[in-house]
Amino acid sequence: MLSIKNLKVAVEDQPILKGINLDIKPGEVHAIMGPNGSGKSTLANVLAGREEYEVTEGSIEYLGQDLLDLEVDERAQAGVFMAFQYPVEIPGVNTATFLKQVIGSIREARGEEELSAPDMLKLIREKAKMVGVDQSFLRRSLNEGFSGGEKKRNEMLQMALLEPKLAILDETDSGLDIDALRIVSDAVNQMRAKDRSFIIVTHYQRLLNYITPDHVHVIYQGRIVKSGDKNLALELEDKGYDWIKEEVETVA
């Protein structure tokens, strides 16, 4: 599904990622952990196509295509979805209208049949209920005045509607109370499927109590320094990141 090879990324000539290798198979959930400033959000942003991040070396292959060659909207149409750490507020863009537009354009790009207006509305209502987004939010401007938790739920709603093949959750759990966290993890768990993969970028192990990852990777100083199964996350919770930092520095 996704194959990242020797990925090196710089921001304003400052190297951030220094050679990431990662293989994700269909249906897998990978958690990317690491201390602040390690480069885990950079990885998420490069996958989504943010322009400020300059890929200096390496490749990303996604479903047989060169992901780095695709525009931001083409990536979305090809099934890449990013749930943002800080979803942007866009006054004047009505949430319901926005959802209808993006469902329409994604379906068109995927060669799927156009949904009738009532079917579209039904679909949005159904998924909104699933992720606990109140109907009244659909009438408001996109994310405007939403609380942190409401914004994250809105991201989950979009994920549910766009049915991606690769979903990247960039610190979606940060700042969430336990109820909101359950909603996010329920959404992910309900959407887990054999042809859909997830990359869950998180600073905290807590989310992984609700979403069981197949693989856990630790990024430190721009490299994946440790990979394991869900037990690695538990170990990190107990011991923090310091032992990993020490290990890396001893090797160096």
């Binding site: 525009e71 931001v72 006054p91 004047g92 354009s105």
Partner: protein, 440 residues
């Protein structure tokens, strides 16, 4: 009589006036013509503004004035075009003008609601009940300093007089449908409207200006509103003319106590568009709402000049003007608010914002507040920015194309203005026009 005319463009209009009078034959005797003659004399003493005049600093009329205008040429409007301008779901009273000439057969003036009179200014001058009122305003228009208003009075024919009786609530909007065709030579026309809404009356006017692509003409509009005590007037201009057209739109609202006048202008077309909008307060507790939205590109130029004269205490004014500028287009907002010494407890809000999408587009914003009272709330703000890149990325990351995302953000920017239209059908028509403009 020999008058030495300084301005060569004024002189050309003088020649046109002589031709105009020759065509009139017997109609020279009607009282309406007295005002034209009076205006023509006045015009000869004036000159058109140049960029040296403070109020015209950012707008040059040279291109508008240098055309060799003829009088309007009769043409027809197709049913398809007419339907595209109509407001779906509204039983509007329609006055259709093609190339500035009234098309009675296409207009819908039957079964007017009780309390509403629509007639010509010529007829209003012959009716004892309306004569004095019409004369007063025509005299003012014939003698003002604004050469465009005087020019309008010089050539106006078949101007429209609207009267709303006391406490008459006119639910059906009056829709002026003005459509212009591409003609061999540029033409000019001078729509003239005098509107009186008596105490407690209510009226909604839609002012549509559309044109065939490539049509070159000069629409020089004059509107006078007299909004009596506790009366309410909503006036929406929806303009998507050809990008080779010129429009000068002069609107003055005289407001009595407890009245509301709301003016909203959507400008999408036009090569040079100048809106002169004045609200004159003559009583307490008056509200004036002045709104404008424009979305322009290429060589288009849209200029809003507003003036609110707060002369009486306890009145309020709200101004919101937003524009999106691409290509080499220019936008101007010059908002004057006068708060005279007696006008205590005035609330005056003014906001102007622009999105400038290209390096070659410019926006000139000039708020001018003159405040002589000491117990007032007045605010103004002007912002000029670009499309927010974080928002663009967000929308594209959901699969929207660059074009779709840009349009969504432009629409989002202007919708704040269009939402001020207190009628869903009219707002939808305005939004549809905006999307049509995006497609160009």
């Amino acid at each position: 009589m020999i008058t030495e005319v300084q301005d060569k463009n004024i002189a050309r209009f003088g020649v046109l006036f002589s031709e105009f009078e020759e065509q009139l034959n017997g109609q020279k005797q009607v009282s309406a013509h007295n005002f034209r003659s009076k205006a023509a004399e006045r015009l000869a003493t004036l000159s058109f503004p140049t960029r040296r005049d403070e109020d015209y600093k950012y707008t040059s009329f040279a291109r508008l004035l240098n055309q060799d205008y003829t009088f309007p040429v009769e043409a027809e409007i197709s049913q398809e075009i007419l339907d595209s301008i109509r407001i779906p779901g509204e039983e509007a009273i329609e006055l259709v003008f093609v190339n500035g000439l009234f098309d009675e057969s296409q207009s819908k003036l039957d079964h007017l609601p009780k309390g509403l009179t629509i007639t010509t200014i010529e007829k209003a001058l012959e009716d004892e009940a309306t004569k004095g009122f019409a004369e007063k305003h025509l005299n003012e228009n014939a003698s003002t300093d604004n050469p465009f208003v005087v020019l309008n009075t010089t050539f106006a024919e078949g101007g429209v007089f609207i009267h709303v009786a006391k406490n008459a609530i006119i639910d059906r909007p009056i829709h002026f449908i003005q459509y212009n065709t591409a003609t061999e030579q540029p033409f000019m026309f001078h729509p003239q409207r005098i509107v009186e809404v008596e105490q407690g009356g209510q009226l909604k006017i839609i002012d549509s200006f559309s044109a065939a692509e490539g049509a070159v003409y000069f629409a020089n509009v004059v509107n006078v509103f007299h909004v009596h005590a506790n009366a309410h007037v909503f006036h929406y201009k929806l303009q998507d003319e050809s990008e080779t057209a010129f429009q000068v739109n002069n609107t003055t609202a005289f407001q009595e106590k407890d009245s509301t006048y709301t003016n909203l202008a959507l400008d999408l077309g036009g090569r040079i568009v100048r809106n002169n909008l004045n609200a004159i307060h003559q009583g307490e507790n008056i509200t004036s709402n002045l709104y404008g939205a424009f979305n322009i590109n290429g060589d288009q130029h849209v200029d809003h000049q507003t003036f609110i004269d707060h002369a009486i205490p306890n009145c309020q004014s709200n101004e919101l003007y937003k524009g999106v500028l691409d290509g080499k287009s220019n936008g101007v907002f010059n908002g004057k608010v006068m708060v005279r010494r007696d006008a205590q407890k005035t609330n005056a809000y003014q906001q102007n914002a622009a999105l400038v999408l290209s390096d070659k587009a410019t926006m000139d914003s000039k708020p001018q507040l003159e405040i002589y009272a000491d117990d007032v709330k007045c605010s103004h703000g002007a912002t000029i920015g670009q499309l927010d890149q974080a928002s663009m990325f967000y929308l594209k990351s959901r699969g929207m194309s660059e074009k779709m995302a840009r349009e969504a953000l432009q629409h989002a920017f202007l919708i704040e203005v269009l939402e001020q239209i207190n009628n869903e059908a009219i707002q939808q028509r305005a939004e549809a026009m905006l999307y049509h403009k995006f497609g160009k």
